[in-house]
């Protein structure tokens, strides 16, 4: 009997501290069969339970080609995430999923790719970046843009450098620089002028705070990007992940089943910014 709301027990294999408030958890289903069968597409998320504390939606940040474990990159912002951050290697959590749609990578063959991310929005994109990296020859040029508050909030620092070496264009920016910061300063949108990709034959994948997405879309349109070329992953309150709880409803779409990835063309029709 499949119970969509039922969490499966999973074990934390390792925890790494990315920044002061962000940790990456590598986990594996305790049921080995489940782990073997487990497949996901970049952009999908899972419902992560800390028993007794609650359940939250978290994007998968590892490569879809890595099948023996799953990675989550999680910022400590509230009660469940705080409880998660206290867990250590060997502790058990609950997992359901994967849920949601994904970035339609198969449609992006032969195209250049621009990743735009803000804060922990890099997490779901990381999964897509790994997927692209794995099949590098099938895609065109790749640029990764990343913005965050301050240098100490930079996520996956080593990996960003590694990707750069592997001839991805990687650009980072912070709002509040310190003395040692060598990268750019300002919002992610300020990086667009450095992007070498032509607006034609390039697709954009973005994830981050809603304001970032809002302004990125505006700026990129100015640069000649068509809505059909741009995809954004949205965030909404979620309690179930399977369309039952209705919290993530935006217009006639549900972020958990119709999203979280939306094409900018569809976004135009949705009341994303409601007040």
């Amino acid at each position: 009997m499949i119970i969509p709301e039922k969490p499966n027990v999973a074990e934390i294999l390792s925890v790494s501290q990315d920044t002061s408030d962000t940790k990456t958890f590598e986990v594996e289903f305790s049921d080995k069969n489940l782990q073997k069968k487990f497949k996901f597409r970049p952009g999908q998320f899972m419902m992560v339970s800390v028993f007794g504390f609650g359940e939250i939606p978290i994007s998968i940040s590892s490569s879809p080609y890595k099948t023996n474990s799953i990675n989550f990159t999680i910022v400590n912002v509230g009660n469940v995430t705080n409880a998660l951050h206290k867990l250590k290697k060997g502790n058990k959590i609950g997992l359901r999923g994967p849920f949601g749609n994904s970035f339609p990578l198969q449609k992006f063959r032969k195209k250049n790719i621009l990743f735009v991310s803000g804060g922990c929005g890099l997490a779901p994109l990381r999964s897509a970046i790994y997927a692209v990296r794995e099949k590098k020859s099938e895609f065109g040029k790749v640029s990764v843009l990343f913005g965050c508050k301050a240098p100490e909030n930079v996520l996956f620092d080593e990996e960003l450098k590694q990707w750069q070496k592997e001839d991805f264009q990687v650009l980072s920016t912070v709002d509040n620089p310190n003395k040692t910061w060598k990268g750019n300063v300002g919002l992610v949108t300020a990086l667009f002028k450095h992007v070498e990709l032509p607006s034609k034959n390039t697709v954009v994948m973005m994830c981050g705070p809603s304001v970032m997405i809002h302004f990125s879309l505006i700026e990129l349109r100015k640069k000649g990007f068509k809505d059909e070329q741009m995809f954004a992953s949205l965030e909404r309150l979620m309690q179930c992940g399977v369309g039952y709880c209705s919290h993530c409803n935006i217009g006639n779409k549900y972020t958990c089943i119709d999203g979280p990835v939306f094409n900018a063309k569809d976004l135009n029709k949705l009341p994303v910014k409601e007040d």
Binding site: P4, E5, K6, V9, F51, K92, L237, H247, N252, E274
Partner: protein, 336 residues
């Protein structure tokens, strides 16, 4: 096959049902004089019109335990907690059978079963009661929900008798010869005419197209965000889950789900106190659009079944029929 039962035999019939089912649910008054569905215990029934509160408590309870988590040898046992009581509901109105149908679509048919709902649903025998007069604010005739659907037995009031139409095998099993006798009379008429009427033509598109119509703001200025509408509505199903530790225990916890309401700010509030739908206007619009537009587009049925409860219970008399009709008449897409 049709039957007749004397009205005076109804209590005996209900007692008979009590022997067969764990719970017999009937419409009656509660402590505060509100009419609602409750377990039968010989109390006086309320059969005049539809109840103030719907029967959703028995399908989608306000608070239900979903799982219990027990820590065991550094791992966890995850035990789902199903409500397997066998119930029979007597006296739900035709419109509400449509409410169950609308919920079935989402919770049983569309993505795979929500067991917490479907087990209750399948364990419940539905005895519907045909309305003989239109209720205060109902508009079921506009939505085609005045004839029952998916029920097991249908009762019609006829003088000092009930005329009973058997719809399913499950229903047939309840026809006990002690109370029922066979009849070949024609089916009584089930026509009623509601005072309220909703213009449903292209309503999904029109309402959505009028997202920024001034009527939303105008009406919402009065709105108290008291959530009475969503709570009395037989189809409002949105929920929030919460985990709680069993008091005094480190190792045992439980997951509950609670009925929530889109009229509350917390409905869209995420960590960091960001609220995606903060304004009263937006929240009111969400209610009406979810009922009359979004759900139909997603799942093919309206989530509103025209019972008029939300209109009756609103302390400041906001009516979704009035709002929708206003838009149908004056908004974008209005037929000239």
């Amino acid at each position: 096959m049709n039957y007749i039962i004397k009205k005076e035999d109804l209590p005996k019939f209900l007692e008979f049902l009590q022997k067969k089912f764990d719970q017999v649910i009937v419409p009656a008054k509660n402590k505060t004089d509100a009419t609602c569905f409750q377990q039968y215990s010989g109390q006086e029934l309320f059969l005049e019109t539809r109840t103030d509160f719907s029967a959703k408590e028995f399908f989608r309870p306000a608070k239900e335990k979903m799982f219990s988590f027990k820590k065991k040898n550094s791992s966890f046992n995850v035990e789902p907690c199903f409500d397997t009581a066998k119930r029979v509901i007597f006296g739900i109105r035709p419109c509400e059978t449509h409410a169950l149908h609308a919920l079935d679509v989402l919770f049983i048919k569309f993505f795979g079963e929500d067991r917490f709902y479907s087990i209750r649903r399948k364990n419940t025998v539905v005895i519907a009661l045909q309305c003989s007069k239109a209720c205060e604010n109902g508009f079921c005739t506009s939505l085609g929900t005045s004839q029952a659907t998916g029920h097991d037995l249908l009762f019609f009031e006829r003088g000092s008798d009930f005329f009973v139409k058997v719809e399913t095998e499950k229903g047939k099993e309840l026809i006990d010869s002690k109370f029922f006798r066979h009849t070949s009379d024609a089916l009584p008429s089930a026509d009623i005419s509601c005072k309220n009427s909703l213009d449903t033509e292209d309503i999904e598109e029109n309402l959505y197209a009028n997202f920024n119509h001034p009527v939303w703001k105008e009406e919402s200025e009065r709105c108290l965000s008291c959530t009475s509408c969503t709570q009395s509505c037989p189809t409002c199903y949105c929920y929030t889950t919460k985990d709680e530790f069993v008091f005094g225990s480190d190792t045992e916890s439980e997951r509950f789900r609670f009925l929530d309401s889109c009229q509350l700010k917390r409905f869209t509030e995420v960590a960091g106190n960001h609220v995606f739908r903060p304004s009263r206007e937006g929240r009111l619009r969400q209610f009406v659009l979810h009922k009359l537009s979004y759900y139909r587009e997603q799942y093919g049925v309206h989530l509103c079944i025209g019972c008029g409860r939300c209109i009756t219970v609103c302390p400041v008399k906001i009516s979704l029929v009035e709002i929708a009709n206003k838009i149908q008449k004056h908004g974008l897409g209005a037929k000239k």
